[in-house]
């Protein structure tokens, strides 16, 4: 922040008595505290940096799904995947996903034939529609999978997609 850490100053460099210096440090910290709070009203809190590296860097859909928490998710008809059967531009394939499984907490989208199949995991706050829409890269024709996490279990649905022009380059 603005003030240098006290430990970085030579002893007695401020010329203030020890007690006064400590009081000043406390006041500075308190001020820093209020300043740190203020941006919360102006803009969202910083995005956390956690990222499921083992799942995202998995080379196969099966391994990515295992990293999401299950080797054998149950197939569900309550996961709706809206994507064109024939995608002309694999660089920008629109997909909409909706889960009707009660208690859905998160949904993940995987493109089997991409070098790293897991594209995204969406996690929803309680009461928020488990719906997400995004644009995928699809390297070549093959399955697009959605894995839903609900009540500590995983569920799966799959759509076969044909791609005219592959979208990884």
């Amino acid at each position: 922040m603005m003030s240098r850490p006290a430990s970085g100053q030579a002893p007695g460099s401020t010329g203030l008595p020890d007690l006064a210096r400590r009081a000043f440090a406390r006041a500075t910290l308190a001020l820093a505290g209020t300043m740190a709070l203020r941006p919360a009203f102006a803009q969202p809190a910083p995005v956390p940096t956690d990222w499921n590296r083992p799942a995202f860097e998995a080379k196969t859909a099966a391994e990515a799904i295992r990293q999401l928490g299950s080797s054998a998710p149950a197939t569900s008809r309550d996961i709706q995947i809206d994507i064109q059967d024939v995608v002309e531009n694999g660089a920008r394939a629109r997909i909409e996903v909706h889960s009707r499984i009660p208690g859905t907490q998160a949904l993940s989208i995987l493109t089997d034939n991409n070098p790293q199949p897991l594209a995204a995991t969406f996690t929803f706050a309680a009461g928020i529609d488990p719906y997400a829409s995004t644009l995928l890269k699809i390297a070549e024709s093959g399955p697009v999978r959605v894995i839903v996490q609900a009540g500590g279990r995983l569920y799966a649905a799959t759509r076969e997609v044909r791609v005219t022009l592959g979208g990884c380059g």
Binding site: P44, D50, A120, L135
Partner: protein, 104 residues
Amino acid sequence: MSTIRMSARMRQDHADVRALLTHPMETGTRRDAKGQLVPQHFIQRVQISHNGKVVMDVQCSQGLSRDPFFGLRVRGAKPGDRIGLAWLDNRGARDSAEVAVSAA
């Protein structure tokens, strides 16, 4: 200039939120004009908030398109409510923006 273009409009009982981000989303497998591999460069995290509370949290990869798009539905939102979006990429770059929900 902001990397975020976002709209939030009321549709029945929810706000329809659409956000288009400007980002190369490099896969790490593409070669430039000189034949050199272009390093991976992609958004890893996105959070969308409603009146300051996170409603959708995204972890993502280079498997999303260049200039990625995110759409969601925020049930219970009202006109004038604030919808925020913040992203973070694999190099630590970040951006955020906020819009007000507009009536249908």
